[in-house]
């Protein structure tokens, strides 16, 4: 069942001369984990801003075509309404956190909706536990590391019980260990809670193994959309210059030289297993 459905969507910012993306048709199903990637300026961030109605309601500009998210026509429903179904996490967690304690930050959205106190308590604790930030609940967000802050930002979104979470390069400011923790949390949210994940990302090494699908954009258009194992080894992906996982790159170099591993690996673990598989034959 489609949870996000865009039909021939074209958008131009108020100050823009040409569209930020053009003629985008995309369907994302409930429970899917989709990575959107592509060169800087390809329109991926702009596209994601339509998923909770920031476009067109906050940014203005001209949105043509049709987009429906969780059964709501985005053009007709204000952001606060769509935001109850779709949570957004941005690049820099500092821009998203503001309260004096982690717990208050995570509770903020629910308090605004007038959710009963007991229910808030329950949902906040739940969200903090899933993201591994429960022990930090009384700390001030600004005292935390970037990775911890980003997990708190995810907790605040999760507490709202969304059907979809959209994350725009959530790990660019983090060290590799912090990034890996974030990706594990995202994966858990997707697999255990069946929440649909849309992740905009350049760093594909750590995350590709979790994804069901990868969408590649270039110059405002979707140029590839499919199984990561097929998309990453395609000639088009090479020409666009997508930073495919190192394990996949190794597979491609070996295949070019006549050595075939059985399956296209998306991570170091998978590559390891494939290589061992060939050696045992």
């Amino acid at each position: 069942m489609a949870i996000i459905e865009a039909e021939r969507l074209t958008y131009t910012y108020p100050i823009g001369e040409k569209p930020a993306f053009k003629d985008v048709t995309l369907q994302i199903n409930k429970g899917e984990f989709v990575i959107i990637t592509g060169p800087s300026g390809c329109g991926k961030t702009t596209l994601c801003r339509c998923f909770n109605g920031l476009i067109p309601h906050f940014y203005g500009g001209k949105l043509e075509g049709e987009i429906t998210v969780c059964g709501l026509r985005v053009k007709e429903h204000p952001t606060y309404e769509i935001a109850q179904h779709v949570g957004m996490v941005f690049q820099n967690p500092e821009n998203q956190l503001f309260a004096l304690s982690v717990e208050k930050d995570v509770a903020f959205g629910l308090e605004n909706l007038g959710v009963p106190r007991e229910e808030i308590r329950r949902r906040v604790d739940w969200a903090l536990k899933i993201t591994g930030t429960y022990d930090l609940r009384n700390r001030a967000p600004y005292e935390l590391s970037g990775g911890q802050q980003q997990r708190v930002a995810i907790a605040s979104v999760l507490a709202m019980n969304p059907e979809v979470i959209v994350l725009d390069e959530p790990t660019s400011f983090l060290d590799p260990v912090g990034a890996e923790q974030i990706f594990k949390v995202i994966n858990r949210i997707n697999k255990d809670l069946d929440i649909t994940i849309v992740l905009v990302e350049h760093r594909l090494d750590m995350i590709s193994k979790y994804a069901d699908r990868v969408v590649i954009m270039q110059d405002g258009r979707i140029v590839l959309d499919g199984d990561p194992r097929e998309v990453f080894v395609s000639e088009e992906a090479r020409l666009i210059g997508v930073g495919i996982p190192k394990a996949t790159m190794l597979y491609k170099i070996l295949r070019f030289r006549g050595v075939s591993l059985e399956r296209v690996p998306l991570s170091s673990d998978e590559a390891c297993q494939s290589i061992i598989g060939v050696l045992k034959k």
């Binding site: 592509g38 060169p39 800087s40 300026g41 690049q91 590391s145 970037g146 990775g147 390069e169 660019s172 400011f173 983090l174 060290d175 590799p176 260990v177 912090g178 890996e180 350049h202 760093r203 090494d205 210059g241 997508v242 930073g243 996982p245 190192k246 394990a247 790159m249 190794l250 170099i253 070996l254 030289r257 006549g258 050595v259 075939s260 991570s267 170091s268 673990d269 590559a271 390891c272 290589i275 061992i276 060939v278 050696l279 034959k281």
Partner: protein, 273 residues
């Protein structure tokens, strides 16, 4: 040459950011400083261009202590490109941004024009000459910040997190660009979390943790040392992870480069398939 002798630095807030740093970086070296957030990496490089002076110990650039010269004098030798370009950019157009320091250094108009053209060309910014830096994308603003430092031709170039927000192509261009600067004999220091980028460029590595240097050496030695890497919250490169998993089968474990990895595997697997 950059020398640090037992350097300590404490911020006014009381945070002890550097605790006894000793290092020597020769002219023309290419060094990556790595370690988790808050390890003291940025504090350390700010001591090289004199923005910060040690609370204790000495920093010498070409034999001169940084406390004995002004930041402006040091800036001619040391160019620092900040992590966030917005901390650095302020002019109305890209062209003014790049010429600002040159004017302050007192270069004549002709030289300034030549240098600005050179830098715009180098970083692929020609079309933005008359555009406000704030109209540009994050990645483009980063290039403007870099251009404005390179324009005055410092012999030491420091790049703080140069790959953040850059896509694959831009990273590749940055790598080529660092190679080019190295050929000109410049000393390059990058501060970065980006293990894969470092594995591709293979500089020497300074690994920091809690204000101290915990290891120094070649990328291949440091990045394949799991204990060190974990201590500093840096990850093993993906290729290294693969080879760690193959160690029992007699494969070497110190591999960081994908092409080297392919060569090794081709020799073993090629016989079988």
């Amino acid at each position: 040459m950059i020398v640090m002798e037992d350097v300590y630095f404490t911020y006014p807030s009381g945070v002890e950011a550097l605790r006894g740093i000793n290092l020597k970086i020769e002219d023309g070296e290419f060094v990556a400083i790595m370690g988790q957030n808050g390890a003291g990496k940025t504090t350390l490089v700010k001591h090289i261009n004199g923005l910060l002076k040690p609370t204790k110990g000495r920093v010498l650039i070409d034999g001169v202590e940084t406390t004995k010269v002004s930041v402006a004098t040091l800036a001619r030798k040391v160019g620092l490109v900040f992590q966030n370009p917005d901390h650095q950019l302020f002019s109305e157009t890209v062209e003014e941004e790049i010429s600002f320091a040159l004017k302050n250094f007192g270069y004549d108009e002709k030289t300034i024009r030549e240098r600005v053209d050179w830098a715009l060309n180098l970083l692929d910014l020609k079309e933005y000459r008359k555009v406000s830096p704030f109209m540009l994308s994050g990645g483009e603003r980063k290039r403007v910040a870099l251009a404005s430092v390179l324009a005055w031709d410092p012999k030491i170039v420091i790049l703080d997190e140069p790959t953040i927000g850059q896509d694959y192509r831009q990273k590749e261009r940055l790598r080529q660009f660092i190679l080019q600067l190295r050929r000109q004999g410049k000393t390059i220091i990058i501060v970065t979390h980006d293990v894969e980028f470092v594995a591709e460029c293979s500089p020497s590595i300074i690994l920091m943790r809690e204000g101290r240097i915990v290891a120094m050496g070649e990328a291949k030695e440091i990045l394949t040392n799991e204990i060190l890497v974990n201590q500093a919250s840096v990850a093993l490169p993906e290729i290294t992870k693969i080879f760690k998993g193959l160690e029992d089968l007699g494969f070497p474990s110190k591999v960081i480069d994908v092409y080297e990895a392919a060569d090794i595997l081709y020799k073993r697997l090629g016989e079988q398939t």
